[in-house]
């Protein structure tokens, strides 16, 4: 058994400490997590200076003496390899944006949902584990291949795995990285009124700089989705964050959709990314209209917003929304033919998927069968949102 992950919880509400200890008791007893507590940023900094074994700081924003945002800006000076997760009020864009700029790894929103917090902590420490493993091996052997391994580890560590599933709908996704090319990721984040954001993205280029850009992109997109509630607004916000400091001109194409399970509405927008495909209950499929956006990170806001649209469609019972990257549509066989969107649209003819997982599996199987012996030249990502046939 390895050392427990040490987590410092910073909040001025005295109620949080017993709650955390109670809800996390199983993981505390098993030796997975150890919790420390501080009542404000100053107290947290003192603890961090005295104890360099803290891995994760989970901090509220509004606190007396030193608030969470000031604490965030001080963490860098500690020179410790730790990550910060911020607890923010839902939709508090101003604070979320500041936290992102100051390097927060992730967010949870108030009131704290402990299942979500548990998943967020899990992902953060998994990211930290892979990051440390990769940087440790980099210290031994700095080669290009090694850098690409680090990038691959970072990429894997930001992908969520516990997919949302309710009686009304479910989500499934998969990403298979091509060798030497890293860039795709997917994510989802829950929103008020049971709505759910789903995102698929493709970062340009590869290696460590691209992996770091991928991390910022994911955090920016998640924060912007939480902060704005609309895919179009979220893309505008994420572009603002990413474009502000991007001297190497990296970019990321993104398709973002938000699903309302009460009426089945899907609202989506796209930043330089292929539009979604909807598979009808009879297995026929169509490509939704393109939204005219530009890839994130490279266009100033006035240009970015000019042609960017948002569109709403209704997903009927038994229908499936598919978000994918060009690794699917541009997968090549040995004759250098592309798989193409037309084949994707024909894939479910007469055989509609009965679950999100079935849809994702079918896409990956079809691409693998088409490509045959040809090696994948790009990452392949597919996310499916399936509305239950019986409401």
């Amino acid at each position: 058994m390895s050392q427990p992950w040490r987590i410092l919880v910073v909040d001025d509400e005295p109620d949080l400490e017993p709650l955390v200890l109670q809800r996390m008791r199983r993981h505390i007893r098993s030796g997975k997590y150890e919790f420390e507590f501080a009542g404000n940023g100053l107290e947290a900094l003192e603890k961090l200076r005295a104890d360099d074994s803290i891995d994760l700081v989970l901090s509220d924003i509004n606190m007396p003496q030193m608030d969470g945002l000031t604490l965030l800006s001080q963490l860098g000076s500690l020179n410790q390899d730790l990550r910060a997760v911020i607890i923010s009020a839902y939709g508090d864009m101003g604070n979320i944006r500041t936290a992102m700029n100051r390097g927060a790894f992730d967010f949870v929103t108030k009131p704290v949902d402990f299942d979500d917090l548990q998943i967020t902590i899990e992902r953060t420490v998994e990211h930290l584990r892979q990051w440390r493993e990769a940087t440790a091996s980099r210290d031994k052997l700095v080669t290009l291949q090694n850098e690409l391994d680090i990038a691959t580890n970072v990429q894997q560590s930001i992908l969520p795995s516990d997919f949302p599933a309710t009686a009304k709908y479910e989500i499934s996704a998969n990403m298979v990285a091509a060798r030497n090319v890293g860039g795709d990721f997917y994510d989802y984040v829950s929103a008020p009124d049971d709505r759910m954001f789903a995102t698929v993205a493709d970062v340009s280029d590869k290696g460590i700089p691209a992996a770091l850009f991928m991390m910022s992109s994911r955090t920016a997109l998640k924060g912007a989705a939480i902060g704005t509630g609309s895919p179009r607004e979220a893309l505008v916000e994420a572009n603002r964050v990413l474009q502000a400091d991007n001297p190497t001109l990296m970019f990321v194409t993104v398709i973002m959709a938000v699903y309302d399970p009460h009426g089945g509405q899907v609202t989506y927008s796209s930043a330089g990314h292929d539009p979604p495909v909807v598979v009808r209950a009879d297995g026929s499929a169509e490509r939704l209209p393109a939204m005219g956006g530009i890839a994130l990170g490279i266009a100033p806001e006035n240009v970015f917003v000019m042609n960017l649209k948002e569109h709403t469609v209704t997903l009927g019972p038994g229908e499936t929304l598919i978000l994918y990257t060009d690794g699917v549509s541009e997968a090549m066989n040995v004759e250098h033919e592309e798989y193409g969107t037309a084949r994707l649209l024909q894939l479910f003819a007469g055989n509609p998927p009965k679950s999100a997982d079935e849809a994702v599996t079918a896409v990956f199987d079809a691409v693998a069968e088409f490509a045959g012996e040809a090696p994948a030249s790009d990452d392949i990502t597919c996310l499916a949102l399936h509305r239950s046939a019986t409401p």
């Binding site: 090319v181 970019f251 330089g272 790009d378």
Partner: protein, 111 residues
């Protein structure tokens, strides 16, 4: 990467050919930069010979466009193959890089 090139009264026309992806994008970047000259009044990238360009290749075009805009040198691409044209439209690159249908149009209109 081999590039064909012709210069005519300050207009630098560069003609790359083949596929540009993550495996040769650094080489593509280097070749393009080497094809520039301080005497260029304007630069046109004739993409007619490019049958595939990945996001890594698009990033090289951005770096080139940024470099030229820093020198206030007009820059455009032209003659995109249908598949490359689609990549430009979907990624929104046609909104940030000037695109002409043919080399003649580019020569006539790029100022």
């Amino acid at each position: 990467m081999e590039l064909a090139q012709e210069r005519d009264a300050g207009t630098n026309v560069i003609r790359p050919a083949g596929r540009v992806d993550g495996s040769n994008s650094a080489d593509f970047h280097e070749s393009l930069m080497a094809a520039l000259s301080g005497d260029d009044n304007r630069v046109i990238l004739d993409m007619g010979g490019i049958d595939y360009i990945s996001s890594a290749g698009l990033r090289v075009l951005l770096l080139l466009a940024q470099h030229l805009s820093g020198n206030s040198t007009p820059f455009a691409v032209c003659s995109l193959a249908a598949s490359v044209d689609e990549v430009f439209r979907i990624s929104g690159f046609n909104q940030i890089i000037t695109v002409f249908g043919t080399l003649d149009e580019a020569k006539a209109q790029l100022a």
